[in-house]
């Protein structure tokens, strides 16, 4: 298989740690929009992702065969992260989170509150309210947010385990449209930053990782590719590649003057 032939790894010990839990993949995947449970299973396998988000509203725990959400996820290797997609306000999100906990047996939740059905943009106010209450109730909360640096800090302050800012509106495959704001979020964050939504190509994923994101999430780009498992493999490589570039410190932009400045170098000559 193609995926076995390309094996790119750094020797650096570089795990992703979220709320004390260690993951050796920095690639999250979403499970919506796939054409069959079989394709989804193969995609998860070739992505080597360890955090798999699942829409609670689609879960059919009473019917494992038809259940598009949990079908074929190896629960020993992966964390099934229930998401609250479809929730329009904090109350609905909290109810779904509780149901997610009952279904998965753990208290991690990807918090999504999207009252606008056209662009599915996250509601900052309701997301914040829900995060506060869920954290009080003992949940580990990973909120999906707009690329808003102040909101990101505030969510971090109330105890969110990560922040998950969007790169572009969900499902658009348009790449990183929120670059300037993402940079600020990444620079300021004390919790992992997972770039979520809008990444359409492996190069977008690599770019996010090169910017210093801790992880990325992809779904539509994989599910709607002609060959989802192959695309998942491509994304996984891009995530590793972008991460390695970030770790190498290559090409970082700096606002400080450097000694090699060709114009003002004479000032430092003897």
């Amino acid at each position: 298989m193609y995926k076995d032939k390309i094996n790119f790894q750094t020797d650096i010990d570089d795990n992703l740690v979220i709320n004390g839990k260690t993951f050796n993949s920095r690639f999250f995947i979403g499970t919506g929009k796939f054409s069959s449970p079989q394709i989804l299973r193969e995609t998860i396998f070739s992505s080597k992702a360890q955090i798999i988000t699942v829409a609670i509203r689609r879960a059919r725990p009473d019917n494992q065969v038809e259940d598009p959400a949990f079908a074929g996820i190896d629960l020993d290797k992966c964390l099934v992260l229930p998401n609250t997609s479809g929730a329009r306000d904090a109350q609905e999100a909290i109810r779904l989170a509780k149901l997610g906990k009952a279904l998965t047996g753990h208290n991690w939740v990807k918090l999504e509150v999207t009252p606008d059905p056209a662009n599915l943009l996250p509601d900052p106010i309701e997301t914040f309210k829900a995060a506060q209450q869920l954290i009080k109730a003992g949940f580990t909360v990973l909120p999906y947010i707009n690329a808003d640096p102040i909101l990101a800090k505030k969510l971090e302050e109330v105890g969110c385990a990560t922040v998950m800012p969007l790169a572009a509106p969900i499902g658009t495959n348009r790449g990183i449209k929120t670059r300037e704001l993402l940079k600020i979020i990444i620079e300021q964050a004390q919790v992992p930053v997972v770039v979520d939504a809008g990444l359409g190509l492996p190069s977008h994923a690599a770019e996010a990782m090169e910017m210093g994101a801790d992880a990325i999430l992809a779904n539509t780009a994989l599910a709607t590719a002609g060959n989802p498992p192959l695309m998942a493999n491509a994304f996984a490589l891009a995530v590793q590649s972008g991460r390695a570039a970030w770790l190498s410190g290559a090409g970082k932009e700096s606002t400080r003057a450097r000694a090699s400045s060709p114009l003002t170098g004479f000032l430092h000559q003897d």
Binding site: G32, R57, R60, K98, P117
Partner: protein
């Protein structure tokens, strides 16, 4: 008359407007259906993925005080009227649940003395104990009544204007409260204000020239969206079918035109749910599945109690695609897509202790 250059440009335009829409639904654009289909398919796939949602209609009463010339429930059609009691509704719903359904569309004729808000509220509550998602396709209600049904667990309505042509509207609605065009036109606004998540629009294809109808419907939809940013929009494509009384549509819509409407609406509203019922023959449903349609019904009966309790009632209209739900599910799979039986959870509107 539009030239090829204009048509091509309209199809590829990023954001459609009423001018480009006019081109998309023009007779000349029918030579470009393949290009429209391609764009429609891409937009649908990006927004909805490779999934097709399944729902099933449940008729709970055929009492009606309207005289709609195209409808089998017309007051002047003489047959024994019935309505299901809560026990029968539960039996029907259990039968549908066993077939896999989690989304029931509840339907009645218009007869407030038989199927008033109390009855409807009870019906929604009864269904909601059995399946995860309930929406309604019934006569227009007040905002306050919609609020009651939402509290009972209903989260969507479908309301067809039937025709946007006032003159034709007057002609085909001979008697009854349905004669009030404006109250019907304002229904989606009241429902959305009440908090209905999804609002489905449609017009009965065949009553008036379709190009004018669909343009009026698009304008209607735009107004609904402008007034209610939280609402999820949907469109259905009901073509008039034979029924008791033999109404003959004056402006029949052919299959090419139907496809053109599906593609044009998808291009205009990339996020809208596009619904095709079992009124349509299997060949058309199968063909349009991957090209823009996102929700279909299966194994439908259009008579109250038609699934279990009462199988020999009068139908509202005849269905064409008579395949069973599991056959439809197989078909979706063989078209390279995944049937979505459940896309909602009662946890959204039910206080419950899950721990």
């Amino acid at each position: 008359m539009f030239n090829p250059q204009q048509i091509h440009q309209a199809i590829q335009q990023k954001q459609q407007d009423l001018n480009s829409f006019k081109i998309l639904i023009s007779p000349e654009a029918q030579d470009y259906l393949e290009e429209m289909a391609k764009k429609s398919q891409n937009l649908t796939r990006r927004r909805f993925g490779n999934n097709i949602s399944l729902y099933v209609p449940l008729y709970i009463s055929n009492y009606c005080i309207n005289q709609c010339q195209y409808c089998g429930y017309n007051l002047s059609n003489k047959f024994k009227r019935i309505k299901l009691n809560m026990e029968e509704i539960a039996i029907e719903a259990e039968t549908l649940k066993q077939q896999g359904f989690e989304h029931i569309l509840l339907l009645t004729g218009e007869a407030p003395s038989q199927t008033g808000i109390d009855y409807l509220e009870q019906a929604v509550k009864t269904l909601k104990k059995i399946v995860h998602q309930v929406s309604i396709e019934i006569y227009p209600l007040s905002q306050a009544d919609y609020e009651r049904l939402i509290a009972a667990g209903c989260d969507g309505i479908t309301i067809y204007q039937e025709t946007y042509n006032r003159e034709c509207y007057r002609e085909v609605h001979k008697k009854g409260p349905k004669q009030n065009y404006d109250y019907r036109y304002e229904t989606p606004f009241r429902a959305a204000k009440a908090g209905m998540r999804s609002v489905g629009l449609g017009f009965l294809m065949g009553l008036a020239p379709w190009r004018e109808e669909i343009t009026a419907m698009v304008k209607h939809a735009q107004k609904v969206l402008q007034a209610n940013w939280r609402v999820r929009l949907g469109f259905s494509f009901p073509r008039l079918r034979p029924h008791l009384g033999n109404f003959k549509p004056e402006y029949p819509v052919n299959e090419i035109e139907l496809a053109q409407m599906v593609f044009a609406l998808r291009l205009f509203f990339p996020d809208a749910e596009l619904v095709l019922s079992t009124r349509e023959p299997a060949r058309i449903r199968d063909g349009l599945l991957s090209l823009g349609i996102t929700r279909i019904s299966a194994g439908s009966s259009t008579q109250p109690g038609g699934y279990k309790t009462n199988k020999d009632q009068i139908s509202q209209f005849d269905i064409d695609d008579k395949r069973t739900p599991s056959e439809i599910s197989q078909l979706i799979r063989s078209a390279g897509m995944e049937p979505l039986w459940k896309d909602w959870d009662w946890a959204f509107n039910r206080e419950e202790d899950f721990s």
